[in-house]
């Protein structure tokens, strides 16, 4: 298993080198990338099956400082995130090839190499056995995705890239690194341990302050008011928005928040000290405010971006509720939102490729020309809204359940009210898009076709997966159950 997990970590990085070497030969290069992504996904999924609860799966790479190692381990949450990132990499990889070729994007070797490095570092974040390792991969993820954001090298792309770096590096240097060192001072270790490492070493106020440093230090989680980088990053080519800004990068953020909540603070410690109560209100605010902003956006990708900001706050809300059940619900939401949002983004890219339309009002009537794309979009949207029978419903359901049983008095009702209200808002800002595309604009004759095959198939696959995953919800819940276990 050690070899297998190391392979899953190393393959994307090796793939990046291979992509650069094969730079001038588009076909072997792209086949190479797909092969590497399939290999990585196979490794991770094999690990998923080989994983046995109760056994420790932890290995050290090297010691950076005395008692401070760069090390990796396997646990359910990390495996889930790694599986999401690597499996969706295969699908988005295919999509990216189609998209980049159809749109004649420049500098494709650099693009695909950075893409691979980003996935590799997302897997590194997933497998990190301590905060230091997580921090290292987190930073590599930031740096490797910067060239992707400003890929087009236009003025807006550079501006977006500057926002991206400023927010992500700024928060991680100003808040995250001091928080980690503070933890190191207090606990004497940075390892992720069941039940947390901080209980017993600090009081409630201090814990709340430290938690604030973490939540805002992990800028990738895009909690308001530090969310601006995400909409700005939408200047990137759509495959980047799809995989990185719906799955790998932002999910690395909320994943890290969950991980800090579960394995550094410990759910019991947080709820006992009430250190995360303030965060419930902030997360609720972030959910609603981002949804309202999304309503006002007419650019499709901008609307999806704000929707992402809102959905990420759900996961943070789950962490803030600070019960084991809520943490599991947060993890599930991470997965369900990833599947749905990646479909929506890929549809947006397919629309752009076929029609070069980015504004929602321009899309009236497009549904008849591109039925498959808009059907996939509808499925993804339904899942995000949380209608049965899609997977999005289950994660929201569990979150609501967890809120009610969390023992928070006002916080629980606020969380529940937010869930309902934001689902309504989702309905408004997401479903209006396919509705307009299918129903209105009948007078216009639209002379266009679906996007190329490689741009069309992947979103359909992920949209169907949103539905198919429902059958996996039970085993998935069992797999994540150790998160909800009381520490021994």
């Amino acid at each position: 298993m050690q070899t297998l997990s190391l392979l899953a970590l190393a393959l994307p990085f090796l793939g990046a080198a291979a992509i650069l070497l094969l730079g001038r030969l588009p076909n072997p290069r792209d086949i190479m990338m797909i092969a590497v992504s399939i290999g990585t996904a196979a490794c991770v999924i094999a690990l998923l099956f080989l994983y046995e609860d109760g056994k420790t799966h932890a290995w050290t790479l090297f010691a950076l400082l005395p008692n401070l190692d760069v090390a990796w381990h396997l646990e359910p949450l990390g495996l889930l995130f790694a599986a999401l990132a690597s499996a969706l990499w295969v699908i988005t990889g295919l999509y990216a090839i189609g998209y980049m070729r159809a749109n004649n994007e420049k500098k494709q070797p650099r693009f695909f190499a950075c893409f691979s490095i980003a996935i590799g570092s997302a897997i590194g974040v997933a497998f990190a056995a301590n905060l230091l390792t997580l921090f290292i991969f987190y930073e590599i993820l930031t740096l490797s995705t910067y060239p992707l954001v400003s890929h087009r090298e236009t003025k807006e792309a550079k501006r977006g890239g500057r926002y991206y770096l400023a927010y992500l590096l700024g928060t991680s240097f100003l808040f995250l690194l001091p928080a980690i060192i503070w933890t190191w001072r207090r606990a004497g270790t940075l390892d992720f341990v069941e039940g947390g490492i901080l209980p017993g070493s600090m009081g409630g106020m201090e814990a709340a302050l430290l938690l604030a440093l973490y939540v805002y230090g992990i800028g990738k989680a895009a909690l308001m008011p530090l969310h601006r980088w995400l909409p700005e990053a939408m200047v990137a080519p759509t495959p980047v928005s799809a995989l990185l800004h719906a799955v790998a990068v932002v999910k690395a953020g909320v994943f890290a928040v969950l991980k800090v909540g579960i394995y550094i603070f410990g759910a019991a410690f947080l709820s006992e000290k009430g250190a995360s109560e303030w965060l419930i209100w902030l997360a609720c605010f972030s959910i609603l405010a981002a949804s309202l902003i999304a309503l006002t956006k007419t650019n499709l990708k901008a609307r999806l971006a704000y929707s992402t900001v809102s959905q990420l706050a759900y996961v943070i809300l789950a962490m803030a509720l600070a019960t084991p059940a809520a943490m599991v619900a947060g993890a599930l939401h991470m997965a369900s939102h990833a599947l749905a949002k990646v479909s929506l983004f890929m549809c947006a890219g397919a629309i752009h490729t076929a029609s070069h339309k980015d504004e929602i009002p321009d899309m009236a009537g497009l549904g008849r020309a591109m039925p498959l794309t808009f059907s996939a979009f509808t499925l993804g949207a339904l899942s995000i809204i949380g209608l049965p029978p899609f997977i999005g419903m289950w994660s929201k359901w569990r979150l609501g359940e967890a809120a009610l049983s969390s023992g928070q008095s006002w916080g629980a009702w606020a969380a529940l009210a937010t869930l309902l209200l934001s689902s309504l808002l989702n309905l408004l800002y997401l479903l209006t898009i396919p509705a307009r595309a299918f129903l209105s604009g009948a007078e216009k004759r639209v002379a266009m076709r679906e996007a190329p095959f490689l741009c069309l198939l992947p979103p359909c696959l992920t949209a169907l997966a949103c539905f198919a995953m429902v059958f996996l919800i039970e085993p998935l819940g069992d797999f994540l159950a150790p998160l909800a276990r009381e520490p021994r």
Binding site: F62, L64, L65, P66, L132, F135, I136, E139, I140, L143, S150, E153, K158, L165, L169, G170, F173, L174, L177, P178, I181, W182, W184, R185
Partner: protein, 507 residues
Amino acid sequence: MSETLALHAPALVILLPLLTAPLCFLFSRAANGVWATALLVSLLSFLCAAFLLEKTFDGRVLSYHFGGFPPPLGIEYRIDMMSALMLLIVAGASLLGLLFARRSVARELPAARQSAFYVCYLLCASGLLGVAATNDAFNMFVFLEISSLAAYALIALGGDRDRRALSAAYNYLIMGTIGATFFVIGVFFLYAATGTLNMTDLADRLHALPVGSRSLYAAEAFIIVGLALKIALFPLHVWLPNAYAFAPSAATVFLSAAAAKVAIYALVRFLFSVFGLDFAIGGETLNAVILPTAMIGMIIGSFSAIFARHAKRIFAYSSIAQLGYMMLGIGLESREGLEASFVYLFNHALAKSAIFMALGCIAYQQASMKLSDLHGIARDMPWTMAAFTIAALSLIGAPLTGGFIGKWLLMDAALAQGFWLIALVIAAVSLMAVLYVWRVIEAAYLKAPTGRRRGAPRAEAPRREAPFSMLLPLWIAALLSVYFGVDTRLPVGAAEIIADSLEAAGQ
């Protein structure tokens, strides 16, 4: 053989360059010959330093009595871990700088002055090595002056390319001389109070004196101010930016990596080994002086770097900020703080010399170092800028580089004593480093080349990659700054021993 070498290595490491320099001046006018000799001598000196480091890594102290006269009467060279680490840094920087220098000096200086450059360079190196090795306070002053005088000349040699080098050297001369005078006055006070110059002996006799002796206060104050001038500690830093910016590239590489750091070494030596913190001016006063000045220096240096328009000057200002980090660790007066400072010092020497080498490669290809003339240079000089980026990451403190380790330890040391504000300043100043580094990266990678600048001579050759002999030392330094961010045994292990011994001496 090994024992004989161990016996004489403390002297050899300094005497080799010190004696070779005048010989070169007398007997050779051919720049290449002088360069080759200097390189050979530097290599030998580096090997000696590495040997000494290996010998002292178990905490052993080597003592060498000059001319066989035993201390305290005779001059003693005393190599402990701290001296050995400084010898390694200085000799290593000198070696890298010389490797880099041949093509760079050939391009930047007129033929007649090239051999003079190498002679001054060797003298400067031997002076700095001497400061690190000697255990005699007056001898330290002499070596400090040898290195400083040579450094003034090195900077002034940049005058053929840019006349501003002359005024920069003159400024440095005045400030440096005042510093040296202050330092030597302090040493005289000590001598008057104790009747000895050997530093181990001084420490013993000082502790026999009554606490609160005025002459000791005066001595300490003079020595601190004198060395602060040499370090370029805020607010005594004004000579540094121009001196680094207009010196020949190879001189900047060496001076930025070694000169100020040796002055920091001298300060630590006096504060902790000679005075001891519980004695003379108490630790609290020192805290109140060094910590704020270090922090203000960090902030002001970084601000100036953010707004500077000349690439070399950006990183000269950055040096002021980075020196502030090192002083911060010293000002914390704790074991963790000292350890952090020395790790920081080591890694900064590597990163900064790599950065100045990269800028030297650019200076080799084009005359102007203005940021606006560096647009798109990464396209013409990809290898140079790649190495620059790696070194700049270390300067910022990105994880898996040496700079990260230094910042980590420093922040940890500040938090260990509950200094919130300091930890915050460290974090904020790292961000400012991102900003000024970003300006260069953006100019080099993202801005389109402006083509021929208006008013620039049309005949200027197109920019090309720097020659291999310059890229080699650049890449060595850049890769080492990553290597020591992953395998931290050497810098952290050495710094731990240093901090332990200083703590023991300070009690």
